[in-house]
Every structure is written in structure tokens, then in C-alpha cells.
């Protein structure tokens, strides 16, 4: 546990030396939301309906990118190889990353949710659930980034995984078209993509009066995706390489 915490602290220390990235992480979703809000200035109803989705989507994309690039850097700089010759366990290493970026995700989600609800006037009944799902989405982005970084040899490739991993999920998650109105094949594919359940939860949140059974199911499934991605990611850390 101490080694997990030490790893999380180290990752956050690295981040803290990069002020510009900190500013981007904390503020970018809010700025994008602001733009989004005024795109639909003439139709505030649309913002109330789709705004919550964006609150979940932006952190997922940003955390996915940051995590996968950071992990590729760790793999290519030789530090990962070195760490794997120390008593540090693979689970502790991945756990440390998940924890560090989870903290970053928490800050990001608190800021963007506060901006959306109090400044941009997003009309939701249960704001704490919005924050909860936004954090979960950001952590999901981190978990997917940890996993996908194993397949990227360079930072250049890692960045290009974003359209590969995230864009299909945006197309299929039910944001553009309800999932049950898509062709059966696409619907089945969307069933196994985590963003579908995040979108589902945010759609519910936009209209529901309280935390309901659908949200509980979505919460459970998203947690499952996070745990599975993190577990798979730690399996991709090979002590011996060619």
C-alpha cells in the first residue's frame, strides 16, 4: 500500500512540475462546456439534455490521452523496466497511476460540474450524482489509457489511439441516436462499450428526480469496466522483454 501511495504521489509530483498541463486538465472541460452552452444559446433545452453527457465525455477523453501518453513515456524512458526489477508489484504500480489520475479527475470533475451547474445553469435534480459519474468517466478514461498504452510503442501512436478507442464509442453510445434504434449489429457492439452506460446514466440524470435503479446498474457496470481495464493493464506489464 505504501508503494501504491508513493507511486501516486510521484505521478502527481511530475504533474505539478508541468503547470500548463495542470491548467489544461482543470480548466479545459469547463471551457469546452462553455462553448457548448453558447452553441445552443437559442435552444437551452438541448443544453439541458446533452450538457450532462458532455460533462462525462470531456474528462474521459482528456484523461485517456494524458494517461496513455504518460504510460508510454514510462515504458520508453527505461523507468518502467527499472521499477520492475525492484520490489514494486505490478498491481501497486498500476494502482498508483489509477489513484493519481483519479485525484486529478476528481478536481477536474468538481470544477467542470460546478461551472456547468452554477454558472451555465445546467438544470439537474441531483448534482452530486453528476459529479459522481463525471469522476467515474474520468477514471474510466485513465483505466482505458493504462490498458491501451501497452499497444503503443511511441507517444505518437498513443495519441492516435484516441480516435480508435474513443470516437467509435461516441458514435455508438446512444448520444447521436438511441441505441435500440441502431442496426442490431451496432447495438450489440455498443452493449460491450463502457461509454454506452455512461451516456445512459447521464441521460437518466438529465430527467430523473432521484437516483434510480438504472443509474445503480450503470454505476456497477462502469466500475466493472474500470476494474477489468486496470486488471488487464497490469497483465500487460512484462518483466522480461526481448
Amino acid at each position: 500500500m505504501t508503494r501504491t501511495l508513493a507511486t501516486a504521489r510521484r505521478v502527481l509530483q511530475q504533474l505539478s512540475h508541468d503547470r500548463r498541463s495542470v491548467a489544461l486538465i482543470v480548466l479545459m472541460p469547463s471551457v469546452l462546456l462553455l462553448v457548448f452552452r453558447y452553441v445552443y444559446d437559442s435552444a437551452p433545452v438541448v443544453f439541458d439534455r446533452v450538457g450532462p453527457q458532455m460533462l462525462g465525455l470531456f474528462p474521459l477523453i482528456i484523461m485517456f490521452l494524458i494517461t496513455s501518453v504518460t504510460m508510454v513515456r514510462e515504458r520508453t524512458s527505461g523507468t518502467l523496466e527499472r521499477l520492475l526489477t525492484t520490489p514494486l508489484q505490478r498491481g501497486e504500480f498500476i494502482g498508483g497511476y489509477a489513484l493519481a489520475f483519479g485525484v486529478a479527475a476528481l478536481v477536474q470533475s468538481l470544477v467542470s460540474s460546478a461551472v456547468a451547474i452554477w454558472w451555465l445553469g445546467l438544470d439537474v435534480e441531483i448534482p452530486w450524482a453528476i459529479v459522481l459519474f463525471a469522476i467515474l468517466d474520468a477514471v474510466l478514461g485513465t483505466a482505458l489509457g493504462l490498458l491501451m498504452s501497452a499497444f503503443a510503442a511511441t507517444e505518437f501512436q498513443a495519441v492516435q489511439f484516441m480516435p480508435l478507442v474513443v470516437v467509435p464509442q461516441i458514435l455508438l453510445c446512444g448520444l447521436l441516436q438511441p441505441r435500440d434504434m441502431m442496426p442490431r449489429v451496432l447495438e450489440v457492439i455498443s452493449d460491450v462499450l463502457p461509454l454506452s452506460y455512461a451516456t445512459d446514466a447521464f441521460s437518466e440524470l438529465a430527467t430523473a428526480d432521484g437516483f434510480n435503479a438504472t443509474m445503480t446498474r450503470d454505476l456497477g457496470l462502469l466500475l466493472g469496466f474500470v476494474v477489468a481495464s486496470i486488471a488487464l493493464a497490469s497483465l500487460t506489464l512484462r518483466r522480461r522483454t526481448a
Partner: protein, 238 residues
């Protein structure tokens, strides 16, 4: 048997279809400094990686401190310093060492001790990425010193250092060996052979000589190691 720190038998490593190490045997006694010398690309790093347990090997056994290389018990007892300084360039020197101390479960007080040992006591708060290459290498070395391991695997730790620092580091290596530690230090600077208890000369993935500096000189009749290497390389090619 117990006075052997490292024992390599029939090691064969193939990378990208090429036999980088076709078949190699070597024994390294405890409490010694062994220099692994040879030109770039001769397989020094691959051999060190195999001993560290991070290299996929095709055949052969590598035993370190009586355990298979890379075994969980060895992870706290073997300090491996890669050729590229494997420390975080976006952390300060002290933040790097604090992290490695936490990983190894070493006392925080050891951070100041190792900063002193590698001559970076005044650079603790500098950003590692802003240091020179040689200074970064020493941060990397300092991280290995934290845990006081029984075996040090050091891949070109003195490359690019000024002669005074190089001498200081070799003194440190010899002091560690006097305290019973085992060091395997690679270098492509032949003259560094002089500072080792025994020397392994490597070429094209094989050992062309193994012995004390005096023995190698006697074998070749050469005064300097550049010349000794040439003689031995020609003999092994013939």
C-alpha cells in the same frame, strides 16, 4: 559455490532473429568489481539485462545470489542501473530519490547519504531534466545505492564523466566491493579495466578474455588495454 554472486551457464539470447549472445558462460565471485568491457553493440547491455532478469533468453541459466535472475527475492538485493539514466526528468533529484527510497523501503535519511556519495549534495532541488547527462547518470546510480543491494549491475555508469568524477566513482565501487558487495560495471573505455578486480572482454556476443588486469597484460604483452583488446580480438578471430 556460495562465494559466487553471479553464475551464467550456456546463455543464448536472440533478438530480432540475430543471436546477440550465441552461448556464454561466466562466473563472478562475491565482493569484487568486474569490468565488462567491449565495443558498442558487442552484447554488454544484453548480458547485463539477462543478469537483471529483464531480458527474454532463448536458452541457458542465469543464477544471481543462488536464485534465478529476476526472482522476487532478488528484487531487493540486486540494483540495476540502465544505460539511459532511468530516472524521472520532470522530478527534482530529491523527489526521484524519495520515490525510489519508498519503493525499496529504504529510510528517508539514506537519500542525503547517497546524494553525498555521488557528489550531488548541492543539486537535490534541481530538476533532473535540467542536469547534464553525467549528472543524470549519477542520480540514476544514487537510486540504486539507496537500498544498499548485494549486487550492482551498472551499465556504462561513467560514460561522459570528467576524469575526477570517474575516479571518485571507481573509488566508490571499490569501497562497496571491500564491504562485500559485488559489482558488474560495463564500459567501452578500455582503460577502465585498470580499476577492476577482474575483467571480461566481450566481442560479438562472446567473451574473448576473462581475468585480472595483470593476467590480461601478461597474456598479451601489451601495456594498455586498448592494445590488449586488439591482440585478443585478433587471436580470437584467427
Amino acid at each position: 559455490m556460495m562465494n559466487l554472486a553471479i553464475e551464467v551457464q550456456g546463455l543464448r539470447v536472440v533478438r530480432g532473429g540475430n543471436p546477440v549472445i550465441p552461448g556464454l558462460d561466466v562466473q563472478i565471485p562475491r565482493g569484487s568489481v568486474t569490468g565488462l568491457l567491449g565495443p558498442s553493440g558487442c552484447g554488454k547491455t544484453t548480458l547485463i539485462r539477462s543478469i537483471a532478469g529483464v531480458q527474454v533468453v532463448k536458452a541457458g541459466t542465469v543464477t544471481v545470489l543462488g536464485e534465478p535472475a529476476g526472482s522476487p527475492t532478488n528484487r531487493g538485493r540486486v540494483g540495476y542501473v540502465t544505460q539511459a539514466s532511468s530516472v524521472y526528468s520532470d522530478l527534482t533529484v530529491r523527489q526521484n530519490l524519495d520515490y525510489f527510497a519508498a519503493i525499496y523501503g529504504a529510510a528517508q535519511s539514506s537519500v542525503e547519504r547517497v546524494l553525498e556519495e555521488v557528489g550531488l549534495a548541492d543539486r537535490g532541488d534541481s530538476l533532473t531534466g535540467q542536469l547534464s547527462g553525467g549528472q543524470r547518470t549519477r542520480v540514476s546510480l544514487a537510486a540504486a545505492l539507496l537500498t544498499d543491494p548485494e549486487v550492482y549491475l551498472l551499465d556504462e555508469p561513467t560514460v561522459g564523466l570528467d576524469p575526477v568524477l570517474r575516479r571518485d566513482l571507481w573509488q566508490l565501487f571499490n569501497r562497496l566491493a571491500d564491504e562485500g558487495r559485488t559489482l558488474l560495471v560495463s564500459s567501452h573505455v578500455m582503460d577502465e579495466a585498470e580499476r577492476c578486480h577482474q575483467v571480461l572482454l566481450m566481442r560479438d556476443g562472446g567473451l574473448i578474455a576473462h581475468g585480472s588486469p595483470d593476467e590480461l597484460r601478461a597474456q598479451t604483452g601489451a601495456d594498455d588495454f586498448e592494445q590488449a583488446f586488439l591482440t585478443l580480438a585478433e587471436r580470437s578471430a584467427a
